[in-house]
Amino acid sequence: MNAVTLNDRSLSEVMEAPETEALPAPAAPVRQTPYFETESGKRFIEGTLTLFKNAVPPLLGMLLFVALWALVANSGGQIPGPGETWAAAVELFSDPFYDNGPNDQGIGWNILNSLGRVGIGFSLAAAVGIPLGFMIGRFDFLNRMLSPIISILRPVSPLAWLPIGLLVLQRAEPASIWVIFISSIWPMVLNTAAGVQRIPQDYMNVARVLNLSELKVFTKILFPAVLPYVLTGVRLAIGVAWLVIVAAEMLTGGVGIGFWVWDEWNNLNVAHIIIAIFVVGIVGLLLEQMLMLIAKRFSYE
């Protein structure tokens, strides 16, 4: 044992000795740590890597989509390709707010008009639907009274309500708001009611033991407990509302993204129709993301 270790040591001494002698002694610690070995440098690399990892799949998806689109467009149909559409979009969005009378307005006005209708119809639906949901959830009698009606009316296609709206309200503008109202009210009613019904009995027991007033029960227990459900309802409802507005405007006319699509179809300007599809999709996505952020802010879990 001893002999072996001795041999080992001497061996390593022999091996190391000439090398250390051969190396020129460094005059000063000239070697600076390279940027990528410092803390901030490492963080930079790491950040870039995660960014890369997160960005690659969606970018790849988009690229494939555009490639497929170009393929379809090049195969001799009447659909304009990505390049053509992009050029048209740049032109369109270079002046979004021109106004040449009621039938020729910029894309910006069309979007804002549609958003305005959705906003009014959706706000009315929230103002009626959320309190109604609370009452249905709180009072079983009301629940049993209204649930057959809701079950029948809810699956009706939104546009089936348009003639009734035109008949009662006489004008196109309020009729399309009515369609938004009636189609976006159900998710809010049903989700709010479900939220109220699912409040844990424990919370209500706390309210009873503390003998809280009705107002306190509402502000401290009912409302915060149900809020996440309400926001889910609101999120679904705004999706439905934005979905419906295009179809409603196609039928009623006026200034709006839906009518604009129809107008461009009559002009056979297919590039503009494709742009409209993207615009509708992106605006819908933004609306939903906005509500997701609000919902996150108010969730307590």
Partner: protein, 265 residues
């Protein structure tokens, strides 16, 4: 002398889908002021039902329940309840949860600053001053239970009702909270009724152990007086023959005379 909490011939019948179900029958119990009562029995023997009757969350089908000579009708803040699963409101901080109770009881008589001082004092009593600003989701199970106790104590209730308050906790946390509770009760001279299924907990904490027979139609089987001197120390009691004698009496009742329903069937 009149007892503080009086239960005279109380019974509780539930209407279920399968017909009437008698949970409790012929309950007679007198609790003195400052007394610590443990309710013990097998699952389903109606101990929680009895506690809920005193809390006023349930109305007795028959019989009378009195607190300080007044009939118990519905829940009230003079009976502080510590729930089995803490029942804190998850969107309020520990402080706000306690404050809600304090505000309800004292808001008419005291200023906001006094109410806040009461809340802080209650949290300090259970050793949670540092967690006052935390939400229930951010603290451990033992801490949540302590907030629940602080909420009940902050109302300065005449009677503290606890429904298996430490049942969901691990053994070490449970022992710690039992010691805390003994100190708090000694300091505040509270009258306590506590539901438990833990024999050691019952002997350690209470002045009398109310042992219940198996349901349905459960009633009080036997009442055991725990005349161990206070303050009690769990380490010393571990070597105390009297403690073991009491403990085995409860075990004897639970496992020999009131066998588990399944085994008896």
């Amino acid at each position: 002398m009149q007892s503080y909490v009086q239960i005279e011939n109380a019974s509780m019948v539930f209407d279920t889908r399968k017909g009437k179900f008698t949970a409790l029958t012929g309950i007679d119990l007198h609790v003195d002021q400052g007394e610590f009562i443990a309710l013990i029995g097998h699952s389903g023997c109606g101990k929680s039902t009895l506690l809920n009757l005193v809390a006023g969350l349930l109305d007795a089908t028959d019989g009378v329940l009195l607190l300080a000579n007044k009939e118990i009708k519905g829940p009230g803040p003079e009976r502080g309840v510590v729930f089995q699963n803490h029942s804190l409101l998850p969107w309020l901080t520990a402080f706000e949860n306690v404050y809600l109770a304090v505000e309800k009881v004292f808001a008419g008589r005291e200023s906001k600053a006094q109410l806040k001082a009461r809340t802080s004092a209650a949290l300090e009593l259970v050793g949670l001053t540092h967690a006052a600003a935390k939400l229930p989701g951010e603290i451990s199970g033992g801490m949540k239970q302590r907030v629940g106790i602080a909420r009940a104590l902050a109302m300065e209730p005449k009677v503290l009702l606890m429904d298996e308050p430490f049942g969901a906790l691990d053994a070490l946390t449970r022992a710690h909270l039992q010691d805390e509770l003994m100190k708090i009760v000694a300091a505040t001279q509270s009258t306590v009724i506590m539901v438990t299924h833990d024999v050691d907990e019952a002997v350690l904490l209470s002045d009398r152990i109310v042992m219940m027979t198996n349901g349905p139609a459960a009633t009080i089987g036997e009442i055991l007086t725990v005349d161990l001197p206070r303050p009690r120390d769990r380490l010393q009691l571990a070597h105390d023959p009297k403690y073991h004698e009491l403990r085995s009496q409860v075990l004897e009742f639970l496992y020999s005379r009131q066998m588990r329903p399944k085994e008896a069937a």
